[in-house]
């Protein structure tokens, strides 16, 4: 490809976008709208899985030991549980610690509390066990309950199952939304490019008649697709960024219990991803639509 050709192709691309301003604007807007939806879907998915993870990470098995357990035995049981498969962490709350914690919430001192309670500490030793896989909390709890020295376990029976089902659904809905809109975006863009090629079929026909090579015919459309996709992607990432910022601020002040993702790296990746996706869609769309025209 000579320098003359490159100059000509760039000029043609600019001309064609100026000549069909409405089609160019329509293409850009289609890319923008689809990518805005795609961007928000990705953020929704990120939040859904973040929410699911944060709910799940709160799942733990409270293991209460028998009241006659000595501090040495507590240590033995702790290391025993630590060694079990599927256990992520074990934290000990000794009966003395439990009493102090309780005292703090009641506002009294430890000695006066013990006196008040009739000279004995009624709290059992507690081991807080986290499972490495939240889905296996129930199985882990069953295993822990039969260990010697364990009085009883509590892990929010019933509540856990419902929560896990809910988070699973949250993930699936997020994935489905992203998938559906990705497909819709590609279809819309390829229709737009086809219209663009159709409006210039006469020009393409003449180019081919006077002996322009296929790549020469293809380049201006590819560059046009890339440019329009780039503009659409940039607009989309701007809208998604601003919109998400505004939305997350609103949620944080009104629905404080919802964990909102605020990850700058993720935002950068999404912005870059949207721009690249726009360019890829534009280029692939125009390439595919042209293939049929060029074959004749």
């Amino acid at each position: 490809m000579t320098l003359n050709s490159i100059r000509y192709i760039l000029r043609e691309t600019a001309h064609s976008m100026k000549r069909n301003p409405w089609l160019s604007i329509a293409s850009v807007l289609t890319v923008t709208v689809s990518l805005v939806i795609l961007g928000f879907s990705v953020l929704f998915l990120a939040n859904a899985s973040n929410m699911a993870k944060s709910f799940e990470s709160q799942l733990e098995v409270a293991t209460f030991l028998k009241s006659n357990t000595t501090p040495e035995q507590v240590k033995v049981i702790q290391s025993q549980i630590q060694g079990m498969p599927g256990v992520a962490s074990v934290t000990v709350v000794t009966k003395a610690q439990a009493l102090i914690d309780f005292g703090k919430t009641m506002g009294g001192t430890q000695s006066s509390l013990v006196t008040d309670l009739g000279g004995t500490n009624p709290f059992p030793d507690k081991l807080t066990v986290k499972a490495s896989d939240p889905q296996k909390v129930k199985a882990l709890a069953d295993e822990l309950s039969v260990l010697p020295g364990v009085e009883k376990v509590r892990y929010g029976q019933g509540y856990v199952d419902k929560l896990l089902t809910f988070t699973r659904w949250l993930r699936w809905i997020g994935l489905t939304v992203v998938g559906a809109f990705a497909i819709a975006s590609i279809v819309l863009i390829s229709i737009n490019v086809k219209m663009n090629v159709f409006s210039r079929r006469r020009e393409i026909q003449i180019m081919k008649l006077v002996g322009a090579s296929n790549s020469f015919v293809r380049w201006p459309f590819l560059i046009e697709g890339l440019t329009l996709g780039f503009i659409g992607g940039a607009l989309a990432s701007g809208i998604v960024g601003t919109g998400y910022n505004w939305l997350s601020m609103y949620i944080q002040t009104t629905l404080t219990f919802l964990p909102v993702v605020q990850n700058t790296d993720l935002f950068r990746q999404i912005a870059a991803g949207l721009v690249l996706a726009g360019m890829a869609m534009g280029a692939i769309g125009s390439g595919l639509s042209l293939q049929k025209f060029l074959r004749s």
Partner: protein, 228 residues
């Protein structure tokens, strides 16, 4: 220069446009293709610039086999063949100059050369003073001159015209014929499909008549030969 051997063309819908056509056309000839509408003239003309390929038989131009030719070689073939259409096929939003220069630009000719050659070619077809006009501002004859200029700007060895005077009044038609004739005199082979009886009878050139997809008549110095 051009040789068709046992060429048949059947379209996918079953229509038999050409049946066992054998033809030889020499360098520098001027040939009229005549025959009723739908007889296969246009299909035959399309074979010359490889807009169509035959379903059977061989087409050779300047020693190149157009049937076995690879798709990516076609652009280079087309650069040595000029095509003129009944409906001119000009780009409406380009000026006369741009329409003609287009044929050079898309094959990567330098800007200066495009300028010089386009000016010279427009001079040749008598449109030097209309360079900046748009096609809709021109008469039919002038538009056809632009189309001819675009077809010959690459100095093609072969000029193919499908009813180039079909949309023009008789007087303008003769102007276009004079132009094609002068191009032929410079050594370019010209093949022209036409229904214009007066032109064919007057020019006294080779006439090939196509009927029902077959060569019905091939005379060195012929006439139109049909009642209209």
């Amino acid at each position: 220069m051009i040789e068709l051997t046992n060429v048949s063309k059947t379209y996918p819908n079953g229509a038999r446009a050409l049946v066992d056509v054998n033809l030889k056309i020499g360098k520098g000839e001027f040939v009229f293709l005549v025959g009723p509408s739908g007889a296969g003239k246009s299909t035959l003309i399309k074979l010359f610039y490889r807009d169509e390929t035959p379903t059977r038989g061989q087409v050779q131009i300047n020693g190149k086999n157009l049937v076995r030719m690879k798709e990516r070689e076609v652009p280079y073939l087309r650069r040595s063949i000029g095509v003129v259409f009944q409906d001119f096929k000009l780009l409406p939003n380009k000026t006369v100059f741009e329409n003609v220069a287009f044929a050079l630009e898309v094959i990567g000719v330098s800007k200066n050369e495009v300028k010089t050659r386009t000016h010279a070619t427009l001079e040749l077809v008598g449109l030097a003073n209309k360079e900046n006009a748009f096609p809709h501002e021109l008469s039919g004859g002038e538009q056809q001159r632009v189309c001819v200029a675009r077809a010959v700007i690459n100095n093609p060895a072969l000029l193919v015209a499908d009813e180039p005077t079909g949309n023009l009044d008789p007087e303008t038609a003769w102007e276009i014929m004079d132009l094609l004739f002068s191009i032929n005199k410079r050594g370019t082979t010209v093949i022209m499909g036409t229904h214009a009886r007066a032109i064919v009878d007057k020019m006294q050139k080779r006439v090939i008549a196509i009927e029902n997809g077959r060569v019905a008549r091939d005379e060195e110095i012929g006439g139109y030969g049909y009642d209209t």
